[in-house]
């Protein structure tokens, strides 16, 4: 906030033409790239009326896809929250060799193509892998089953929470925790009373981002799914399947579920951002 007001007062007064041109271009861009497609999705989904729409989204396969997407998202958020907290904590509060390497590794899923992520797990847990006999003996299926989809989702989303926490923890330093420790506070108390209040909003924001990314994941999940209908198909995969089946209206109807979920997340995000700023 402070930065923005500064640049406005310090810099020369920008010409109103440039200002409106930039605003116009941004709005036009957003409209063409975002608003128009979204309207099309909703319009196509409702093309055959609300009854047909309801029928399309209450199809058992669509329902199972929604379930699986939510399941994978919940797992991704819970696991990545725990992991993100640990990682961010370790990196900012302790000094150790290989710290830079750890931070780089955390960022890896952002740079690696999701397809590669999927293939890595196929090679690690698939029939060709060394541990497959063990998995088979214990009747555990990872790839082409729900655990594989959860793994893929966790992989592609794991930087989101730690990345939000890192700068906040970094800025905060370790002084307060050290003081608390000297006064005799135990580990978890320090975390609950000192650290958590500082990072609460960053954490929530990270969770929101992680949720959004987890629900939309396509590439890695596609490689690990096997496309077993009604069993290992998530919402984005179900949309692709329906398109291939020449069922366009249902494809858009299922897409609209994703759009609605995304809008809900956007609203939650804005609220979190707003409250977070107020608290500061």
């Amino acid at each position: 906030m402070a930065k923005e007001t500064q640049s406005q007062t310090v810099g020369a007064k920008p010409s109103p033409v440039v200002k409106w041109l930039l605003i116009g271009l941004s709005v036009l861009f957003l409209f063409v790239m975002l608003v128009l497609p979204l309207i099309t999705v909703i319009q196509e989904a409702l093309r055959k009326g609300f009854a047909a729409y309801r029928e399309a989204i209450s199809d058992p396969d669509a329902f199972s896809a929604l379930n699986l997407t939510l399941e994978a998202t919940v797992f991704a958020v819970v696991i990545n929250t725990v992991f993100g907290l640990f990682a961010a904590w370790a990196v900012t509060k302790f000094r150790f060799h290989g710290k830079k390497l750890l931070v780089t590794l955390i960022d890896l899923p952002v740079t690696v193509s999701p397809i590669i992520a999927g293939l890595i797990y196929v090679l690690t847990f698939g029939r060709q892998s060394a541990i497959y006999p063990f998995l088979e003996e214990h009747d555990l299926r990872v790839v082409y089953a729900v655990p594989g989809i959860i793994l893929a989702t966790v992989f592609v989303t794991f930087p989101f929470i730690s990345r939000e926490l890192l700068p906040v923890l970094e800025a905060q330093g370790t002084d307060e925790e050290e003081a608390a420790a000297m006064m005799g506070a135990k580990g978890f108390t320090i975390f609950r009373k000192i650290t958590l209040p500082h990072i609460r909003w960053a954490l929530l924001y990270g969770i929101v981002l992680c949720t959004a990314r987890a629900m939309g994941e396509f590439g890695a999940v596609s490689v690990l799914s096997g496309h077993l209908r009604g069993q290992t198909v998530t919402l984005p995969l179900q949309v692709e399947i329906l398109f291939g089946d020449n069922k366009y209206m249902p494809a858009f109807a299922v897409s609209s579920i994703l759009v609605i979920l995304a809008v809900v997340i956007l609203i939650v995000r804005s609220i979190v951002e707003y409250i977070g700023k107020e608290k500061k």
Binding site: F75, V82, F125, L140, Y144, P147, H227
Partner: protein, 344 residues
């Protein structure tokens, strides 16, 4: 501090284990003590509609003769990709793929026992198809035969022979025409095939993707397609497209097989065997015909005489020395397709 760290680690570990054990088993097979079978059919791309209809018919057939219920889970995609996934652990009880070679890939992975080709009648090929051209209504580019595909003004849609079974049949059919046209002069044949691939606009991974590129996204002037896929587009959009039958094409024989390792583990051999056997029944043959696959039963095929061009001149895979030889020459890594496509 340490204790809490450990606790949290244990918690996340437990969560993962729970996910694995909750959902890891029981998607296929026979639940203990119940009369319910669940089998998985991993198939190729254009059979989506066929197996929706057939699965319903089979369910009725099985449940009328047995004291148990059956449920079939489908998976569809490019045939080569599907075979690879089964080899990597996708739990198919049966595979119904686009060609013998892809089933062989599953056999080579140790999942299907040798000899599967003669396990069901007619080389385990309950229905056949061929390769035709789908062009826009009125055939504006006047595409009549394979030779026209090498013209500069023609844009072609065909899937990728690396991943799609249909694309391999396309490639071999074009090759067969060129061999006849150029009296087996390999240099001229190669030059023709090279020109053909130069004209390809979109190389999708599966047949259905290619159809969508041509029909929905309006790409290209001609779609090299499974006959069944071409008829299906015609049924959806009768006023927009027409089928051109080339002077020579190939008898495409999709292959079916039981995945022995999986059915033995799941206890589903009996129901899986009957599932594939019943594909040869008159009822199923008629369903195949209605979905534009050529029934292998001659009598049922005759019923669809006004649908299919039965006089079409067809070569078979045996004219290429069988799938092993054809695959090694054309589609293996570094094979003819790779060479042609890298040069482009």
């Amino acid at each position: 501090m340490k204790k809490n760290l450990l606790k949290a680690f244990a918690l996340s570990g437990a969560l993962l284990t729970a996910a694995v054990s909750l959902t890891g088993c029981g998607s296929s097979g026979k639940a203990a003590g119940s009369n319910h079978y669940s089998i998985v059919n991993v198939s190729y791309d254009p059979t989506r509609e066929l197996y929706v209809a057939y699965n319903e018919a089979f369910k009725k057939h099985w449940e009328s003769e047995h004291d148990s219920t059956v449920e079939i889970t489908q998976s569809h995609g490019g045939s080569g990709k599907q075979a690879l996934e089964v080899a990597n652990g996708n739990p198919a009880d049966v595979v119904t793929l686009a060609l013998e070679y892809d089933v062989k890939a599953v056999e080579d992975a140790g999942l299907i026992e040798p000899g599967w080709l003669s396990e069901f009648p007619l080389d385990s090929s309950p229905y056949t198809s061929t390769i035709v051209f789908l062009v826009r209504k009125g055939n504006p580019k006047n595409i009549l035969d394979w030779g026209d595909l090498a013209r500069d003004d023609v844009g072609i849609i065909t899937p990728n022979p690396k991943t799609s079974g249909g694309a391999r049949w396309n490639h071999l059919a074009a090759w067969a025409w060129a061999q006849r046209e150029y009296n087996n002069d390999e240099t001229q044949v190669l030059a023709y095939i090279k020109k053909l691939y130069e004209n390809v606009l979109v190389l999708d991974s599966g047949a259905r993707g290619a159809t969508n590129s041509f029909v929905e996204n309006k790409q290209g002037d001609v779609l090299l397609a499974w006959e069944n896929e071409a008829f299906l587009s015609l049924k959806e959009y009768p006023d927009d497209y027409e089928i051109v039958t080339p002077s020579i094409s190939i008898l495409a024989q999709p292959s079916v097989a039981i995945v022995d390792k999986v059915v033995d583990k799941n206890g589903t051999r009996e129901v899986a065997t009957e599932y594939l056997n019943y594909l040869y029944s008159e009822e199923a043959q008629r369903i195949a015909g209605q979905n534009f696959y050529r029934p292998s039963n001659e009598q049922v095929l005759a019923e669809f005489g006004d649908v299919f061009d039965l006089s079409i001149n067809l070569v078979t895979i045996n004219d290429f020395g069988g799938w092993d030889e054809a695959f090694a020459k054309h589609f293996a890594d570094g094979g003819l397709f790779d060479q042609i496509y890298e040069q482009n």
